[in-house]
């Protein structure tokens, strides 16, 4: 028996195997068969030394577990063996390399990193002066679980969103979606679930491992002496409406207390706030809240901002909203998603695994009030109506947008009339945020059926019979009849004003909930007492800036990237239950040089926020003493032209202008650091404009 096992291991002893087949003990037979090694026939043999058998037996057991190679062809490598061999080989090599890697001195292997502006500015003698408050935007902040359903066992105080890896999403996607959703009626926690923002700098330094958000800025600020006591991340739960973050978490009160503390403990130096993306309007809300008397506000008194804040440096500000939010709420998709859908039409739509990704995502996203805060504000006055838009004449050039852009734009300015002449036949009607079918997006408004908002009220009440066969209603689309769904599409084109009616029609509960917290209009008379309500505070067109003439407001954003501006939609082909009835028509393309691609009209911006939304308030709405800015707070526009990273070593680029990557833009970081260490807007060079924002603003007819 001993010999058999040895033989089989050595592979060259076939003959002896056959010969010694009978050499086995009863005990060993039991054991051998019990581990499933059936290719042996084991018989009794009594003339064997017991020690041998025992030792061999142990060993054989070990091998048996690991091998299933038949005895018949011992000289041939089977596929499985080769596989094992290869894996083993690779692993060994990998470990060896890993070992060497760890043995190497750290400096030897470091990628020669470009020294950030922090090092240079430190040599210039800049030091930490004003405390800095970072306000993260939507999606980028981490969320962690404090109380959950049984399916989320073991995730207590683990990140559900952001920060760590998103492994949990893949492991239990439905559980996670359930926990990230809010209550549909109240917009607060559902029963038995508490998900909270991760506090501190870790809350939003990295979104995923290696994908920085604030980390680069933090690191550079640290170079000139910033640390925990003068650098604060105002983490908040970005799913909630702004006022609800105060009601549920006291987030605004905490921010106020933190700013006051930093102001005092840093020798009465005012604070520089650096909000990003949606954080910009969150901070706008905060500035109003803090000066409003207690029941609704923070009770800081009218001088609070003047006393505590030196500058608000808005990065990629979504002041007037983002068209992306429209497509997100309307059909849970964006440009990227619709491309994927075009490429692999089956994956998302089919009911494989019963996932229905889009529907579930939409169901979750519609419980988040904050997305509604990003709907375009200011209506047709700002975003354009059926036939005109402030961006008119924008030249889209998808092919070569990076390096030669500077020369191109100067040409643009000079020959814009000429170009318009060329392009007039395919002019982008940006004003029509949603149009059904390409013709509806191009034709002149007189040729379109009149978009009458009365159509909504009529259909919604009369045809409220539901197709209950679908069971539980997921999204509010399930509560709409097929007829009214088609009616919506028949209306052909919507501007930002009619868009709100459309959303109120397709998602009445959501809009009712969210519109208690946000408003999207333009104020006629800012002294109207109704504007003291918090729902107006995050809309720059319906609030006055606080009385703080020494404060500075910066609009810092990237330009030179095509940004979603309006959409061409179609009715979704499948009509089964629980599906989203509309989707972006990605088959629609314009001619070369057209701004229409894959059903999306593009304008200049930073990939998420169009220039119009980011720059208009600084360029016109607040410039000088206006009714929105009664104390004449100085505004500065700092635009950063997008240059994609030239090599892989640069990672996400040091001159990027895209919405999140701009946080690693060295020029932007330098501006922030200079202001934080005491410079004023004029000292860093005043306005720095690459886009046509000034011209666009002139076209907008807003009473100031």
């Amino acid at each position: 028996m001993k010999a058999e096992f040895y033989d089989f291991y050595c592979l060259s002893e076939m003959a002896s195997v056959l010969r010694f087949r009978k050499l086995c003990y009863v005990e060993s037979a039991v054991k051998c068969t019990s581990v499933g090694y059936e290719s042996f026939e084991i018989d009794e043999k009594l003339d064997k030394k017991e020690e041998d058998v025992l030792s061999a037996n142990n060993f054989a057991l070990e091998i048996n577990k690991k091998r299933k190679q038949p005895k018949r062809q011992p000289k041939e490598w089977r596929c499985l063996d080769s596989c094992c061999w290869i894996i083993g080989y690779l692993c060994t090599t990998w470990w060896l390399l890993l070992f060497f890697y760890h043995c190497f001195p750290v400096t030897l292997l470091r990628v020669p990193e470009l020294p950030g502006p922090g090092v240079r500015l430190k040599l210039e003698g800049l030091t930490a002066l004003h405390p800095v408050v970072l306000v993260p935007g939507i999606v980028t902040g981490g969320l962690e679980l404090w109380e959950g359903r049984p399916c989320a066992d073991g995730l207590f105080r683990k990140r559900l969103w952001g920060g760590g890896s998103f492994t949990q999403i893949f492991k239990r996607p439905l559980c996670l979606l359930e926990h990230l959703s809010l209550h549909y009626e109240t917009g607060l926690d559902p029963q038995g679930i508490r998900v909270r923002a991760v506090p501190g700098l870790v809350g939003a330094d990295y979104f995923a491992p290696g994908y920085f958000v604030w980390a680069v800025l933090i690191e550079n600020l640290a170079k000139i002496g910033y640390e925990g006591k003068n650098l604060h991340m105002a983490a908040y739960d970005w799913r909630l409406s702004f006022q609800n973050t105060e009601i549920r978490d006291h987030a605004l009160t905490r921010l106020k207390s933190k700013i006051e503390l930093m102001y005092i403990s840093n020798g009465y130096k005012k604070v520089v706030a650096v909000p990003h993306s949606m954080g910009v309007i969150y901070f706008l809300h905060f500035l109003k809240w803090v000066e409003t008397p207690p029941p609704m506000g923070g009770g800081g008194g009218p001088g609070w901002c003047a006393k505590h804040i030196k500058a608000v440096m808005n990065i990629g500000p979504a002041f007037l909203g983002v068209p992306k939010a429209v497509s997100n709420l309307f059909s849970a998709e964006g440009k990227d998603v619709s491309y994927i859908r075009a490429m692999a039409p089956g994956v998302f739509n089919s009911e494989i695994l019963g996932l229905q990704t889009f529907e579930r995502v939409m169901r979750m996203a519609r419980t988040w009030d904050s997305i509604v805060s990003l709907l375009p504000k200011g209506g047709e006055v700002i975003w354009g109506n059926m036939d005109r838009s402030p961006e008119e004449g924008h030249v889209c050039d998808f092919s070569k947008k990076s390096h030669s852009k500077t020369s191109l734009t100067t040409n643009n300015v000079n020959n814009s009339d000429l170009k318009r002449g060329f392009l007039v036949k395919d002019l982008a009607n940006y004003g029509r945020i949603i149009s059904f079918g390409k013709p509806a997006s191009i034709l002149h408004s007189s040729k379109l059926p009149t978009s009458d908002s009365k159509v909504f009220s009529r259909t919604s009440t009369s045809e409220n019979f539901n197709n209950f066969s679908c069971g539980e209603a997921w999204t509010e689309y399930d509560e709409m009849s097929r007829q009214s769904i088609q009616n919506v599409a028949a209306d052909k084109a919507y501007t930002t004003t009619t868009l709100l009616d459309l959303l109120r029609f397709v998602a009445p509960k959501m809009m009712r909930r969210a519109e208690a917290h946000f408003s999207h209009g333009i104020a006629e008379n800012l002294d109207d007492p109704k504007y003291n309500h918090y729902k107006y505070w995050s809309n720059p067109l319906e609030t006055k800036l606080s009385d703080a003439p020494d404060m500075e407001i910066y609009c810092m954003y990237g330009v030179g990237i095509p940004t979603e501006r309006s959409y061409v939609y179609k009715l979704s082909p499948n009509s089964r239950c629980k599906s989203i009835p509309y989707q972006i028509d990605n088959s629609v393309h314009g001619e070369d040089g057209s701004c229409l691609k894959g059903g999306v009209y593009f304008a200049d911006g930073d990939e998420s926020v169009p220039v119009l939304s980011a720059g208009f308030m600084c360029a016109k709405g607040w410039r000088g003493r206006t009714r929105f800015n009664p104390s004449g707070i100085a505004t500065y526009i700092r635009e950063y032209r997008h240059k994609p990273p030239t090599s892989l070593m640069e990672g996400r680029g040091i001159e990027s202008g895209s919405h999140v990557d701009i946080m690693g833009n060295f020029a932007l970081i330098e501006d922030i650091m200079r202001v934080a260490s005491g410079a004023t807007g004029d000292e860093i060079g005043g306005d720095q404009i690459h886009s046509d924002i000034i011209k666009m603003s002139e076209r907008i007819n807003l009473g100031l």
């Binding site: 033989d7 002896s16 060993f59 894996i87 083993g88 080989y89 692993c91 640290a222």
Partner: protein, 671 residues
């Protein structure tokens, strides 16, 4: 993960060797048993191939199991545990939620020394890439990778006790600062999880993280930590409808919070300017866990020779390993140099001198603690009855009062028989600075052989003279520490000198704030032998080492002796003796005393140590050890009840296993 893989690797290579040996042996056998064996085929598996095959196989199996493990529902491990140990008792959070307790008072945690995380904000070249990574806490990976660099960054400036130039190491903020010390080693995590069960979350819990290396006042000077704590407490009281906070300091955090309470009411230039009402307005209760109010003898050995019992034992096992410069590292000297720059270690030198800790021939504990009775501890109520018997059996009186003695005979002889050479005389002896070429700074290299001999000649040191000793062997360190801490007993607390911040963390030199509604709890484990006094020897080693060591060869006479491995043990929680943790609540602050003029009620809650019954319990739910007590269900329940609004009376008042009240009577402290 990577660790286990590596281990797999070595395992497999080992078994591979084994296999190859057997294969050879087996070949022999075959030769012997089957003479008609054919010659080896050229295509046979070599050892190397088998090796690869084996590793590959193990890896595949490993990954497969890992995959299975990851896809397994999370509840299975719990089933397994329950199957083995029987149904688990509900954690206190779940239990109390069923009783209907909910969030009431906001909670503030004050972590102790060592348990808080520290991260790097600015460093030298060698620490590149570690920006905002944890140097202390977490995995300690960097300690192994670049130990010298690590020690350099963890050290403070030798003169100022603040940052060295070009290095900024800062405390991690938020609950993550001290929930886990290292991966899987909880500190506050269990308490946090249980509080969350009844509804606590970030807005009602606050971790008052501070840089535990600094002296308490310096945390304010450098980081404004005290101001932040004040502001946060005020904020929590305001946002929770005026509910006062429950403060839960642990270990050194107890002293830190004592300092805070004085600081916050002191007027601005030195204090926080909160006014004399601040504590009364904002604090409901201070629930001190394992508080070293009167210091810890461990800190003496730490300062004197950088060792504690554990290290001393390790040293006897492998005498060469730690002391010799195997890798040129000189581990101990580096460690000593580093810890000596930390002012905070001096906050825990025993306070109150001989009045509290005992003189040459008496100590409050006498010999009443049965050091050998560890096994009997499970039913400790009976144990108190047994103590007289044990006293009879173990007649030898333990001289706990002699915190350091040189040689066992000295430790046990009566004081009249000890011949001592006065330390002060030898101070005058000529200073022969031996200019060794040790590149490491510790003050022992400045003091010369004469003085080292003089230290040993003085033979015995009590809690009073230990200060002289430390002043003698490390004058610079003590000069720095003396500016921040004081160790005496105040004769007259109204003396204006006691307004200085250096007295604020010594309960014997400050008055408690005027807050009669506040409550003070002393919660600590008992039943574990705790270091109380040491027997030292002078080492004969080479130039660059520390000249004193705990004499680990000294053992007590019998099994039950309190002297083991050169250390006298007394009752306590493994780190803090009962005397230090309980005396203030048992006597110093009990009722209206001069230390407690407003008569703040005090409660002693002792938790008898019961080691975990099996491995599955982890670190135990009834542990009384200094850090593990944070997972003690009884303690957690007490805290939750108080946080949810209960008073000390409702909890059951005092809850005492040890002889703390008896000892307190023996201490002649003027109240």
């Amino acid at each position: 993960m990577s660790f286990s893989r590596r281990r797999k690797g070595t395992d497999s290579s080992k078994s591979q060797n084994l296999r190859c040996n057997i294969v050879k042996e087996d070949e022999k056998n075959n030769l012997y048993e089957s003479p008609r064996k054919e010659s080896y085929n050229s295509k046979k598996w070599s050892c190397w191939d088998s090796c690869c095959w084996f590793i590959g196989f193990v890896c595949s199996v490993w990954w497969f199991l890992l995959l299975l493990y990851n896809t397994m529902p999370a509840s299975i491990p719990q089933y397994v545990t329950e199957a083995i140990t029987g149904p688990l008792t509900d954690p206190p959070g779940v239990k109390l939620r069923k009783e209907g307790l909910t969030v009431n008072h906001p909670v503030v945690f004050v972590p102790g020394i060592v348990t808080g995380g520290l991260e790097l904000w600015e460093g030298h070249q060698c620490a590149e890439g570690l920006f905002r990574k944890r140097l202390w806490g977490g995995s300690f990976g960097e300690l192994y990778k670049r130990p010298l660099c690590w020690a350099q960054h963890m050290s403070l400036d030798n003169e100022t006790g603040l940052d060295p130039p070009g290095i900024r190491v800062r405390p991690v903020s938020g609950l993550v600062a001290a929930d886990y010390f290292a991966a899987g080693y909880f500190v506050w995590a269990v308490l946090i999880a249980n509080l969350a069960q009844i509804g606590y979350e970030e807005k009602t819990m606050y971790m008052a993280a501070y840089d535990w290396r600094l002296s308490f006042q310096n945390t304010e000077v450098r980081d404004q930590t005290l101001s932040r704590i004040k502001s946060n407490i005020e904020l929590m009281v305001a946002t929770n409808g005026g509910k006062k906070v429950v403060v839960i300091p642990h270990s050194m955090g107890v002293l830190y919070f004592l300092h805070f309470m004085k600081w916050v009411e002191a007027p601005p230039p030195m204090g926080g300017g909160g006014g004399s009402e601040w504590c009364a307005k904002h604090i409901k209760a201070v629930m001190n866990i394992g508080g070293p109010f009167l210091g810890v003898p461990k800190s003496v050995s730490g300062l004197f020779s950088v060792e504690a019992r554990d290290i001393a034992i390790a040293r006897t096992f492998a005498p060469g390993f730690l002391d010799k410069d195997v890798f040129g590292l000189q581990t101990f000297q580096h460690l000593m140099r580093m810890t000596r720059t930390w002012d905070s270690t001096m906050s825990m030198i025993p306070k109150g001198g001989e009045t509290i800790w005992g003189g040459l021939d008496w100590s409050p504990e006498g010999s009443s603690f049965n050091c050998g009775a560890k096994t009997l501890r499970n039913n400790s109520i009976n144990n108190t009855d047994q103590i007289p018997n044990i006293n009879l059996a173990n007649m030898k009186n333990v001289n706990y009062g002699r915190i350091i003695s040189f040689g066992k005979d000295v430790a046990e002889a009566h004081s009249s028989k000890i011949k001592r050479v006065d330390l002060l005389d030898s101070m005058k002896a000529d200073m022969l600075a031996n200019l060794t070429n040790c590149d490491i700074w510790i003050e022992y290299h400045d003091i010369g052989d004469h003085r080292i001999k003089a230290v040993a000649d003085y033979k015995v040191y009590t809690a009073g003279s230990i200060l002289d000793l430390l002043h003698f062997v490390s004058p610079k360190l003590m000069a720095r520490g003396g500016a921040h801490f004081s160790y005496g007993i105040a004769d007259n607390l109204d003396d204006p000198k006691y307004q200085h911040y250096k007295y604020w963390s010594n309960p014997l030199e400050t008055k408690l704030p005027d807050a009669p509604d506040m409550e003070i709890y002393s919660m600590y484990g008992v039943g574990i032998p705790t270091e109380r006094a040491y027997v030292y020897k002078v080492t004969t080693a080479t130039d660059c080492s520390i000249p004193f060591q705990i004499d680990t060869s000294v053992e007590g006479g019998s099994e039950d002796s309190c002297l083991k491995g050169g250390v006298f043990s007394a009752d306590g929680d493994e780190t803090v003796p009962v005397l230090s943790a309980g005396l203030m609540a048992a006597k110093g602050w009990r009722g209206k005393t001069r230390f407690n003029p407003s008569g703040i009620p005090t409660y002693i809650r002792e938790y008898s140590h019961a080691p975990p019954a099996n491995l599955l319990e982890g670190r135990g739910t009834q542990s009384g050890a200094h850090v593990d007590i944070m997972g003690n269900f009884a303690l957690i329940e007490d805290i939750i009840r108080v946080a949810a609004g209960a008073t000390g009376k409702e909890l059951g008042g005092d809850h005492v296993y040890s002889d703390i009240f008896k000892w307190a009577e023996r201490i002649n402290l003027q109240l």
